[in-house]
Subunit: 430 residues, 2 copies
């Protein structure tokens, strides 16, 4: 797979992700050692992070590098929402300054047991909500990498680490992957454990992964989940691809609307059949109810922080939690019924198509001062718990990445990854 | 409601739970202050806990007692599986000796915000699994209070606190409530937040509540959940009650088989129609697959503890986690499908009846040295996520409590509580 560097911009170097599969092939061929691979990651972080601000904490200089395991030599950035036993975990909030968990989050422990090296904790927005982290977009330092998995997406895009952990409650994995031009994978709900990840909304929070390309992220997901998710070189044939037409398509930038059309055309070049799918009332209601569920559950999850550390919350989060705390339980219970109906309706969509192609964000990365961007195009798929892959490869006229999402039926993660890999191959070779 | 003290046994005093509703009525009438109510709880703990071992940690002597809020004057025991910001939280494991969380678990924070007083952390079995806590059954100090919510159930049964938090992954709320002769409530899955509660199995773990009587636990649940769950004095009329006949009924002790029949007869005296429901293959498979899901998820959740602190785990847990870690992901995914079919089948049962009456345990509390008892009769309802209430009031010929479970359809927590309160009234007045 080719990762083409973007045009270098003032104040920053060329953006070149590294490939997990490539590193592992070289290690297995004996041309690279895990120690050397990790040392290269350390050097890249040293060189770039003074401008990028992807890392909240770095691994200790003497942190052990494992020589064995399927992820030996793979440096990972861990979103600072996941607990780590050897590094403080602050959840992007001053309330947790210096907080040192006693245990690794389950997914971190699984990755380390497979030989991965935790290069550091990456910046998250405050409790994975909207208040920006300091991280910049490696494609343009004046822009946001997206959120809430800001540091993880930026670190992978800049090649500082081969892979990274994120999370998604609305659009926090797929959107930054789109803005940073890398592969992002939000698996089926609870395919990857969230144990030891700070909860915002328990019915939505999903652990996500980043890597340079789709095959890389599939390989990482396969090892971490113990599932057969690895994608070979064959591209699926005869897929039916639905283009999800919704009431918010008018919010797409012209460049993203064009990218979506390019993606659909690429699917047709692959021999896939492309059909329009129009959002009905049940689906629209589910998409629109996601923020209420997020707000209500967030206010419950963060009750202690809201009531005892309100002055240490950003104004945006404080207001969101107040809004959530004011939602009557009956309204939330109604919203859960709407969500359940929406899940059934999403499931039914996959009777008419194998995968769905949709925009990963309204457009290119916003300016840093404008915030982390809008998750509107991600909310339905997070609520539905379906596997989603951000496919990189397209660019706006100004050279910034634009991502497309491939979604599949709940539990069909391998199909989503295989279709995304096929689409990526044709978009990256165009 | 009357709570009849049992016959005092050698080495222990009479067992008399206190009533949340009674305390609140007296506070509202001005005949009791919250401070006096909490002081009484403190005195009872001082007097009894040297024999009972219900508490792992006590509140500091100067811990503030709130005068306002719907739970002011209510002393709660918090299972030491829930994080508390002011008291160490050790999850029943030496791995977490002295561990001091930075925040209260969500449910703890909600309770404190409602005015409740956290009297202390109650003993849990190791990570809420099977290795016993030191707690004794207040009805007979030679017996187990059940597990994993051992300290919470014992503390409520002995009247040391008015209410307590528990959790249930297989049968850890309903079973100890049965053994201790108190009301236990396992609400619909995720009605109460588990945020800040140590995870064992994410698709099963449910926060539960204990109180002296069913109306007390309903009142506590109503305040903590923000739902209309309070039960008045009226008993529901014309209910259809299903007796769940399963393949493990042969494991019931004669005393419990008799108690179940007494419960059915009491339902008929209430004018309810009692019908047999026979477990079919789908339901049996769901019941039987619950341990596999628990083992697999437990091994993932506790990856860090398993790999880095194996020598500090009990042998029983270490073996269970090894067993879980050896389960192929595909087998777990099959089990989840079996569970989903089982949930649908349980839901369908409630087309034929309004509530289900079943034994809460195979029999009376086992001897302390024999362990915390068998959750076999609870597994299906935990897997299904249905609301369950342990109804106290019956006794074995040897004078030990025997509990029955009322279950209702997912989301019909109020119906389950109302039916349980009706049954309790007739059993306790018999």
């Amino acid at each position: 797979m080719s990762h083409r560097p973007s045009t270098p911009r003032p104040g920053f170097r060329a953006v070149t992700p590294v490939s997990i599969l490539d590193i592992r092939r070289r290690i297995e061929a004996g041309t690279l050692t895990p120690q050397a691979a990790i040392a290269q990651s350390r050097e890249r972080i040293d060189a770039a992070d003074g401008e990028l601000f992807a890392f909240a904490r770095r691994a200790a200089p003497d942190a052990p590098v494992l020589a064995q395991g399927p992820l030996a030599g793979i440096a990972l950035g861990i979103k600072d929402l996941f607990d780590t036993a050897d590094l403080p975990t602050e959840y992007g909030s001053p309330i947790y300054a210096g907080h040192q968990p006693r245990a690794d989050a389950a997914l971190v422990a699984v990755a380390r047991a497979a030989g991965a090296f935790v290069a550091g904790k990456t910046h998250t927005t405050e409790f994975a909500f909207m208040t920006p982290a300091p991280t910049r977009n490696p494609h343009d330092l004046a822009r946001s990498p997206g959120g809430s998995s800001s540091g993880s997406a930026a670190a992978v895009a800049a090649g500082l680490v081969a892979g990274a952990f994120g999370s998604q409650t609305a659009g926090s994995t797929i959107r930054p992957a789109s803005f940073c031009g890398i592969a992002g994978f939000k698996p089926s709900f609870r395919l990857l454990p969230t144990v030891g990840m700070k909860t915002f909304a328990w019915s939505l929070d999903t652990a996500g992964l980043f890597a340079g390309g789709v095959r890389d992220v599939a390989h990482l997901a396969a090892i971490l989940s113990g599932r057969d998710l690895g994608i070979g070189d064959d591209t699926p044939s005869a897929l039916r691809v639905g283009l999800y037409r919704s009431g918010i398509d008018g919010q797409l930038s012209p460049a993203m609307a064009d990218a979506w059309a390019q993606g659909a055309a690429a699917c047709e070049r692959l021999g896939w059949r492309v059909v329009d799918i129009v959002e009905d009332k049940t689906l629209r209601q589910a998409r629109e109810v996601q923020p209420l569920i997020q707000d209500y559950e967030g206010a419950v999850s963060l009750t202690y922080e809201r009531l005892h550390h309100g002055a240490s919350l950003s104004e945006a989060l404080r207001l969101a939690l107040q809004r959530g705390a004011a939602i009557p339980a009956e309204r939330y219970d109604d919203a859960r019924r709407t969500a359940r109906n929406g899940r059934r309706a999403v499931n039914a969509l996959f009777g008419n198509c194998d995968v769905i192609l949709s925009p990963s964000a309204p457009g290119e990365a916003p300016l840093f001062i404008e915030g982390t961007g809008d998750p509107a195009f991600n909310r339905l798929w997070t609520l539905a718990g379906t596997p989603c892959v951000n496919v990189p490869g397209l660019r706006s006229p100004s050279g910034l990445p634009l991502g497309l999402t491939i979604s599949a039926r709940f539990g069909r993660d391998k199909l989503a990854l295989a279709a995304a890999a096929g689409l990526e191959s044709i978009l990256c070779s165009a």
